[in-house]
């Protein structure tokens, strides 16, 4: 398969579209946790119970369409090779937790991959809906109507006082996590995250890095999400998150301008060195690759680098993960082999830009 075709298949169609403020907010997501009223939660359920959950999706939603979400595919974990599951995790369509449920775990995915419904995760149902850029309200509205569509066939576990009942007390109430993925290189370079993160925490929001298995926010990509799910409406939760994200966008823009004004040539040097590493290295580890990709994306956003598409960060952060590298290579790779493949794939991808 050519690299272009591989990318076309690998990158979720919705991610190729532009959204609001997409120079800083890469994507917005709403996740809703739901359960069946009369079936025990996954933690104590018998396999037969969870099979019943799966049957409801098999009978009512497989190959159905709802609005712009066409022809839902129902994929069972049992049918997938480990590397295929890993790819779904890297695309954020399923959680690592679901990937481990080989008996009754499944995922319902729309053709454009904008909606995925994890079945028999910690909760019976976890709806995930993505939008490119900063579009939390759109995501909430569509997630909610999609939720209504599922509810036509499912008796949800719901209580007047406690709201949607979930397996974990941290999700009860709305069952909702709203989140945005943000690229904040200038706030990291100017060491402002140390000051900003505690301030965001005070507002009941959680900040974390999402890429990388170890300890840091690889690629300067952060996820901001709500911590509280009980006692606030979905709309208020989204409003609160939105206002914080708006301030972060402004602070990141200010920081970018300040760096450009105060140390423009140093920044230009940093950005082009990183471009050089990506364009010429033969072995590259994911940590270095994500640092360089973040620099190059910043260079594109600031107009220092031209003729490279700004989707390169989103694309290559996903494509250079171990699962994708092995799918592209069509075989299991050792970590050393992956570092070679990663360097090759990035070089090829940058060459595509020149064609």
């Amino acid at each position: 398969m050519s690299l272009q075709n591989f990318i076309n298949e690998a990158i979720s169609p919705w991610l190729k579209e532009e959204g609001d403020d997409s120079d800083i907010v890469l994507s917005s997501r709403i996740r809703l946790a739901r359960n069946f009223m009369d079936i025990p939660f996954s933690i104590v359920a018998e396999e037969d119970d969870l099979q019943n959950v799966l049957d409801v999706f098999e009978d009512n939603f497989k190959h159905q369409s709802f609005g712009t979400y066409q022809d839902f595919e129902l994929v069972r974990m049992a049918e997938l090779e480990p590397v295929e599951k890993r790819v779904l995790v890297e695309k954020h369509l399923i959680s690592p937790n679901l990937a481990e449920n080989n008996s009754t775990g499944a995922v319902l995915i729309s053709q454009n991959e904008q909606v995925s419904v994890m079945i028999n995760e910690e909760d019976h149902i976890r709806i995930q809906l993505y939008y490119p850029g900063f579009q939390l309200e759109n995501a909430l509205e569509h997630a909610s109507t999609f939720d209504d569509w599922l509810e036509e066939k499912i008796n949800y576990a719901f209580d007047e006082n406690r709201g949607y009942l979930t397996s974990c007390p941290t999700n009860v109430g709305t069952g909702m996590r709203a989140s945005v993925m943000m690229h904040l290189p200038a706030l990291v370079i100017t060491q402002q995250m140390n000051r900003i993160v505690p301030a965001i925490n005070q507002l009941g929001l959680v900040v974390r890095g999402i890429y990388g298995e170890g300890s840091e926010a690889l690629g300067n990509i952060f996820q901001i999400s709500n911590q509280i799910t009980l006692g606030k409406s979905e709309k208020d939760i989204v409003e609160d998150l939105k206002s914080v994200v708006q301030q972060l966008i402004e602070q990141e823009r200010n920081a970018r301008n300040r760096i450009l004004n105060d140390s423009g040539i140093e920044l230009e040097d940093k950005v082009f060195r990183s471009y050089g590493v990506l364009a010429h290295s033969r072995i590259i580890q994911s940590k270095e690759a994500s640092k360089c990709l973040s620099d190059v994306r910043l260079g594109i956003d600031l107009g220092l680098i031209q003729n490279v598409s700004n989707t390169i960060l989103n694309e290559l952060m996903v494509l250079t993960q171990p699962g994708f590298l092995q799918q592209y290579a069509k075989k299991i790779l050792s970590p050393e082999e992956r570092d070679v493949r990663r360097a090759t794939l990035i070089r090829e991808r940058l060459n595509l830009e020149k064609e």
């Binding site: 104590v44 959680s95 719901f158 007047e160 709201g163 009942l165 109430g173 996820q223 606030k232």
Partner: protein, 182 residues
């Protein structure tokens, strides 16, 4: 920012923990967050397990003088009749077994929800459409019942008879809706 636990790796999980109204910031690296049970396999759905068990120890200790072990606490033997999970198991896993567990353990849940959700204990969001119909219906029935009582007290028996018929009608509708669902 450094992880407050290992003081080596940089912190990537940041959140505020509210304990008895006191806010504490928590900054952990992914590894320590996993270790301490704050996270589930890297999904950001942190279970706050240690936070919960901390609370359980706290509120079970003063209830007994002498024997401090939580297993002697009578509420630990509370058991959900649907899924058979005991309160003790719930405190160990930090997860409910089924929807009915919420009812069974109801009176012990307030402090837990308050701690996890910044003092909130009551839902204020979306109501599902079909389950919601029944909720609205029940609300109307209760209002009619209050009215019926008043009418009887005021000896307005003709009006009372009308109200009673209305209640029967609504209750029938509620029963039918429920049967229609299953």
């Amino acid at each position: 920012m450094e992880c407050q636990e290992c003081e080596k790796r940089s912190a990537t999980l940041h959140f505020t923990q509210v304990i008895n109204g006191h806010k504490t910031e928590v900054h952990l690296c992914e590894y320590c967050a996993q270790e301490k049970g704050y996270m589930n396999n890297g999904e950001h759905n942190f279970s706050l397990h240690s936070l919960l068990s901390g609370l359980f120890n706290f509120d079970s200790a003063p209830s007994l003088s002498g024997s401090q072990s939580t297993s002697y606490n009578p509420k630990n033997s509370l058991q959900c009749e649907k899924c058979e999970m005991t309160y003790h198991e719930f405190t160990k896993t930090g997860k409910f077994g089924c929807a009915n567990c919420y009812t069974t353990f109801n009176e012990h849940l307030h402090p837990i929800f308050r701690r996890v959700h910044s003092g909130n204990t009551k839902h204020d969001g979306k109501i599902p459409k079909r389950a919601g119909d029944a909720i609205h219906l029940r609300k109307t029935i209760n209002e009619h019942k209050v009215k019926l009582k008043e009418l009887i007290q005021n000896e307005e028996f003709e009006e009372a008879a009308k109200a009673r018929d209305q209640i029967r009608e609504l209750e029938k509708k509620l029963r039918n809706d429920r049967d229609g669902d299953s």
